[in-house]
């Protein structure tokens, strides 16, 4: 399985194993640097956030999607276009809350954890927490404050990986002109 860039002018294919192994090296190094899992989780989230604020522009430049009018559209774009573009998978969207402001992304297989086993002394480590940061950072740049967290993880024995996304509020300050 190789990752393919979107309908941009260059279609860069990359070995997905290189990607998986690089991410693994990153997480293990963080585990060595920080004493406890909580700090590593926080750090992964922060790094993901920094990636997300830049990745959103790449995504918008290559995918040409317009502004989403509600959270359901956002969920569709994230699952069907963004995940497909960057990780080559299409998670399914389920478990909508009655108010329409929370949903779950179910990932059958997570390319980041292809060869990974969590050891016993790292049971509270959220291995793919970078993804939460990326989603949070990216959506913040398009004026949406969201809360993203893992509720199920195949590394911890669950059958699927589930990411829960909750819409908190629209960020009203610094709106680009023309959006009201």
């Amino acid at each position: 399985m190789s990752r393919q860039a979107g309908r941009g002018t260059e279609s860069k294919k990359m070995n997905s194993e290189l990607f998986t192994l690089t991410y693994g090296a990153l997480v293990t190094q963080l585990c060595k640097d920080y004493e406890n899992d909580e700090d590593v989780n926080k750090q992964l989230d922060k790094m993901g956030y920094n990636i997300g604020v830049r990745l959103i522009e790449d995504f918008l430049a290559r995918s040409n999607v317009g502004r989403c009018h509600d959270f359901r559209e956002t969920a569709d774009v994230i699952a069907k276009i963004a995940f497909k573009m960057y990780l080559g998978i299409t998670p399914s969207i389920t478990n909508w809350s009655p108010g329409g402001d929370e949903f779950s992304l179910i990932l059958e297989n997570n390319p980041l954890v292809d060869f990974v086993e969590l050891p016993d002394n790292h049971s509270t480590l959220i291995y793919s927490n970078l993804l939460c940061g990326v989603l949070r950072g990216a959506l913040e740049m398009v004026q949406m404050a969201v809360d993203v967290k893992f509720v199920q993880d195949t590394l911890k024995g669950d059958s699927v990986t589930e990411i829960r996304m909750k819409f908190i509020r629209r960020i009203e300050d610094n709106l680009p002109a023309g959006e009201e």
Binding site: D58, L60, A61, R62, R67, N174, P176, A177, G178, E180
Partner: protein
Amino acid sequence: MAIFSVYVVNKAGGLIYQLDHYVPRSDTEKTFSFPLDLVLRPRDERVVVAFGQRDGIRGALRAAAGPGRAGGGRAWPGGAEPGRAEPCRAGPADAALPAVGHAVLAINGAEVSGRCTADGKDVLEFLSNPANYPVSIRFGRHRLSSNEKLMLASMFHSLFAIGSQLSPEVGSSGIEMLETDTFKLHCFQTLTGIKFVVLADPRQAGIDSLLRKIYEIYSDFALKNPFYSLEMPIRCELFDQNLKLALEVAEKAGSFGPGS
């Protein structure tokens, strides 16, 4: 068919990148003998032609008090009588609307900086001294300084917002195109608030796709550069190189491509 310049404006309205790709040159260089038959006057940080026009050297359309009387008496060299009245352009009665006249760009081949010559003398003093003649002066349209560009970019940012507020329809975009007889300004605002502005020849086609391409180049070479901080001026060589390439491709394609 040309693309004149590219501007990138960040969310707050600050100019973070500017490129002058093609600047039409309209300089004239002439040798003059004493006394100078053009009226020069200081304006902002430059010396501009306030009165008198000849051989491609443009003067400002300043109101004259009467025919033959120069407006900028202070600049008239050597106290000579303004008897050699050049046929003057009847300027608008309202002197508060100055048109931009050509500025003094160089004297005897050496570029002037602001109002001083290359060796530090004041330009007007230099030109009022008969001993310095004959002198060769180059006039031309002054190019915008980087401060002026910054100001104009933030002004455009505000006008862009006004554009969307003025709209009778709800949810209108801001200014997308500004057209004059010599150029067209195209603006593209991303969903994240960054504006890409391209000034091009009015007949140049394909600017919309060029703006999208510039967005891609920005996301590749500015954002993926870990040393570049968001919202700050873009100083990335790869961004410059790729942008120039894209402009050249667009210029060639635009002459026979479909209208954007």
